[in-house]
């Protein structure tokens, strides 16, 4: 029988002990003695959240295909176990072998949201790994960070040995081979890190130096030795010919995503100006229909899941969506497997499909206009018009839906009070569509409209990366303005309003666009007890305010300050594909509320062309054809 790292007594005393026992269906069991490299993959949040993440599944599968490597997993122990481990000095362990993380060669941490940073420190701390990379010795694992947050890794640069910038499928094997070679040659940690810095896409922060001028701005950011000046984002060129897990792990307890995930494409054509994902995953690349059909069936067979989830940033843009859904509706229907379809743009086709796969009476339709007026939607380049929303909603009402969810952001650049007021006005117009067009006899009760607003956080590698975040007070003012305007609407009773907390968003702003000096704040907040900051019940702003005070870091400098066009941004050393000049151009267009066409309509030369793949190639070919035709005629 397997030996567990935690005693029965501990497992009996904590919530959901199954989080820590491993050995789930399809988990890979290898003999650690028989491999050269032990890699532990970490999602720094609770197990149920971490187990829902596709990226880790892909890399787990990819690493374990290598005979010389054993990849295992670890998640953040929940506070109940955290306390026990500290008290009893139990080192953090990987769920598969239950061996201490400290014995591993690598600890890879995926960084999906900034509010997990204190959990990163928790994982290091409980593992007995030095928090500061500079203090780590030869016997400690190499700590690597990946995921969307590494597009500005600077606030957490002190805690990591390496950051992997971009999609994991490309250079990890090269890195592992390099590690093996250097270890065989008797090389030291330092030798490996130097070698790693020459692998495209890997950023070794200790090999770079930052200097600031007297106003606190970055004045110089340079490699110390021969490390490359720019780190190039990694992009998979053919998504139908790459690693994908046929046998994803099935947890014993319900994960947040209690289903099989089928990533149909990566990237997005739309270029909404607030959206980091829309920029850092460019260009859009589709997986082939054959690939998806095959994997859908295999994954369902291999897991026994009862639901399959199509994942992408904007599923409606998948060109063969109709064929894919036809296949899935038949195939999955026969197997009594449900299909979940997030991020579909509401139109006749979407409603038809949704009507087939979900219970119209119970489900809702969702719009994310993100801005309350057409002017605002033009500012942010959200190509969604009021007419599209109202028509979509009315079509849905006619088919029996009566619940509508609307998502907006407050505090985006160039937002005026009338744009804030436009939000409840739009919601009211939707309600009117319902009451004016749906006869009483066929109504399924009242229409239920839910408006949610979040507090906009400017992110690196977006056109708004230079913009000032609004203050929490200003956010609250706009929220109250929205609420007051809502109460004046005819159908106010049918509209519910939810808003996000302002504290977490302003902190997120600090962590998203901070530089290396912000690391001290994170460390201090952790020492003050900050942990699971992404969980409202666990978040305590005071710990962070105290940390800011102790470290003397001025939060406003990072959050409320509009950056100059020529300022060196902390993340400028990353070559993410989208160029700084493109982003600046887009910021300008936002100021003038000028819409930019999407990648399928016209290439805006964002800089991602160099990968020669996906929509860039499609659009270039089409544009060349049109040009040739014009020449002929």
């Amino acid at each position: 029988m397997r030996r567990l790292a935690l005693s029965d007594e501990i497992l009996e005393s904590i919530d959901k002990p199954a989080r820590y026992i491993g050995h789930e269906i399809n988990a890979v069991m290898k003999d650690p003695e028989k491999v050269d490299i032990r890699f532990c993959m970490c999602f720094p949040d609770v197990y149920e959240v971490g187990m829902s993440h596709l990226g880790i599944m892909i890399l787990y599968d990819m690493f374990n295909r290598r005979e010389d490597t054993y990849c295992e997993r670890v998640y953040s122990p929940w506070p109940d176990l955290d306390a026990i481990m500290r008290e009893k000095h139990i080192p953090l362990f990987a769920v598969e072998s239950q061996d201490p993380i400290k014995d591993f060669d690598f600890l890879g941490i995926t960084l999906q949201y900034e509010m997990c940073y204190t959990n990163v420190l928790q994982v290091l701390d409980l593992s007995g790994i030095h928090l500061m990379a500079s203090e780590r010795g030869e016997d400690e694992p190499i700590v690597i960070g990946g995921g969307p947050c590494v597009y500005n890794p600077e606030p957490i640069a002190d805690f990591f040995d390496i950051f992997y910038i971009g999609e994991g499928e490309t250079v990890y094997y090269e890195m592992l081979d390099t590690y093996k070679r250097i270890k065989a040659e008797g090389g030291k940690r330092e030798d490996f890190l130097k070698a790693a810095s020459h692998i495209e896409g890997l950023y070794v922060p200790s090999l770079y130096e930052v200097e600031y001028d007297e106003s606190g701005l970055i004045y110089r950011f340079e490699p110390k030795g021969d490390a490359p000046a720019r780190i190039k984002r990694q992009v998979v060129s053919n998504l139908s010919d790459t690693y994908y897990p046929e046998k994803p792990i099935v947890p014993y307890i319900k994960a947040i995503q209690d289903r099989v995930t089928l990533e149909i494409q990566r990237g997005c054509i739309r270029g909404c100006r607030f959206c980091q994902a829309g920029m850092i995953y460019r260009p859009i690349r589709e997986r082939s229909l054959e690939f998806l059909k095959q994997y859908a069936v295999d994954m369902i067979k291999n897991t026994g899941y009862e639901e399959i989830n199509l994942s992408s940033l904007s599923s409606s843009d998948y060109t063969k969506l109709k064929e894919l859904l036809e296949f899935l509706i038949t195939e999955m229907g026969n197997r009594k497997v449900n299909i979940s379809l997030p991020s579909l743009r509401i139109d006749a086709f979407a409603l038809d499909v949704m009507g087939k796969v979900q219970d119209v009476k119970k489900s809702s339709i969702t719009f994310a206009p993100e801005g309350g007026t057409q002017y605002m939607r033009d500012v942010i380049n959200k190509g969604l018009t009021e007419e599209q929303i109202l028509t979509g909603a009315l079509d849905a009402f006619r088919l029996g839906w009566n619940k509508v969810k609307l998502y907006f952001m407050l505090g985006q650049p160039f937002e005026r009070d009338e744009d804030v007021c436009g939000i409840p006005i739009l919601a009211d117009k939707i309600a009117r569509e319902y009451y004016e067009n749906i006869p009483k006899a066929t109504r399924n009760g009242k229409v239920q409209i839910t408006v949610s607003t979040s507090y906009f956080v400017p992110k690196p590698f977006t056109p708004f990366q230079w913009a000032a975040q609004i203050t929490p007070d200003e956010y609250l003012r706009r929220k109250n303005l929205l609420r007051a305007t809502l109460s004046e609407q005819l159908n106010a009773k049918s509209i519910k309003y939810n808003w996000h907390d302002s504290n977490t968003s302003i902190l997120e702003g600090l962590l998203a666009r901070g530089d290396r000096r912000v690391g001290a704040v994170i460390l201090e907040a952790y020492k003050n007890g900050a942990l699971f900051d992404a969980w409202t019940d666990h978040f305590d702003m005071q710990r962070w305010l105290d940390a800011l005070e102790t470290t003397g870091v001025d939060m406003d400098f990072y959050t409320l300050r509009e950056r100059n066009a020529d300022e060196i941004l902390p993340w400028d050393f990353i070559d993410a594909g989208v160029s700084k000049s493109f982003l600046a151009r887009e910021y300008d267009r936002a100021r003038n509320a000028t819409v930019t066409l999407n990648c399928r309509q016209r290439c805006s030369a964002c800089g991602c062309n160099e990968w020669n793949t996906g929509v860039c190639v499609e659009t270039r070919n089409r544009q060349q054809k049109t040009a040739a035709k014009e020449e002929e005629s």
């Binding site: 567990l4 029965d8 007594e9 009996e12 026992i21 050995h23 269906i25 291999n302 899941y305 219970d359």
Partner: protein
């Protein structure tokens, strides 16, 4: 057709809760590609029921579930197809066909059949004082001789003093002692048909400890009266003057019984 499957739960999977066990087996059935029956509606679910939930941390050789299938199947074939999908921590022991009920009558649910369960309670190593065999035996005799055994029984909402003596159907230790009381006052007129030797066979998936101290107890279980073996352990400890620590004992369910005056294993 309905099949009743007996399975064991042990090792690390003792820490999987009841609902998760159900979800686990639903996935096993799907991976085994067996023609299971689904409920109607937009989110159909498999028709699968369980006999008696097992507390977290307890191992068992006597878990039972019933699954409805749309086709006639060979129970052995079902077992082997399911076994191919099972992980360490679960073991499938037997599978039998549940007889159809005559038309017009409703079949009794598996859960409502349960009347008693038998456990082995072992002293874990490393938890302080382990009584010697004779002290344990004496305590059992003394306890058994009492008119009543009053313990504090707490549910989610209330705590109340309860006499559990009528619900302890037999208690024994080591191998020789067998306090299967013939005294009707003690047993409430229940007769246990399973022989002692048979009971002790169902230990394949129990944890064994070096100190070797353990006892066996059969208690009322199910929806009407449900006595946890921990309560009996607590009473025994009090008798012996040992401090009771709930973590110091390993519990293993050896059998789950049906029947009122005559107890039979659920797969008999």
């Amino acid at each position: 057709m309905t099949l009743r499957i007996r399975f064991a739960k042990y090792g690390a999977l003792r820490f999987i809760g009841h609902l998760d066990v159900m979800r686990y087996f639903q996935k096993v059935i799907r991976r085994a590609d067996l023609p299971v029956r689904y409920s109607q509606g937009f989110t159909p679910h498999q028709i699968m029921t369980f006999a008696h939930p097992l507390s977290l941390g307890v191992s068992s050789d006597a878990e039972y579930m019933e699954i409805d299938f749309t086709e006639e199947l060979d129970p052995d074939d079902v077992l082997s197809r399911m076994r191919a999908q099972i992980s360490e921590g679960f073991a499938l022991i037997s599978c039998c066909v549940v007889p159809e009920t005559p038309e017009g009558t409703r079949s009794q649910s598996l859960m409502s059949l349960v009347s008693a369960a038998e456990y082995m309670v072992s002293w874990k190593d490393g938890y302080g004082e382990v009584p010697d065999e004779s002290a344990l035996r004496d305590a059992m005799h003394e306890l058994y001789a009492q008119e009543s055994i009053v313990v504090e029984k707490s549910t989610k909402k209330t705590t109340a003093d309860t006499d559990i003596k009528p619900f302890i159907y037999r208690i024994y230790s080591g191998g020789e002692e067998f306090l299967a009381p013939s005294d009707p006052a003690f047993t409430g007129n229940k007769v246990i048909t399973r022989s002692f030797a048979e009971g002790i066979d169902n230990l394949a998936h129990a944890d064994i400890f070096e100190n070797g101290r353990r006892f066996f107890v059969c208690v009322a279980s199910g929806s009407a009266v449900n006595i946890k073996p921990g309560l009996v352990t607590q009473a025994l400890c009090e008798k012996m003057g040992i401090e009771y620590n709930r973590h110091a004992y390993a519990l293993h369910r050896m059998e789950t019984y049906k029947g009122d005056t005559e107890f039979l294993p659920l797969d008999a």
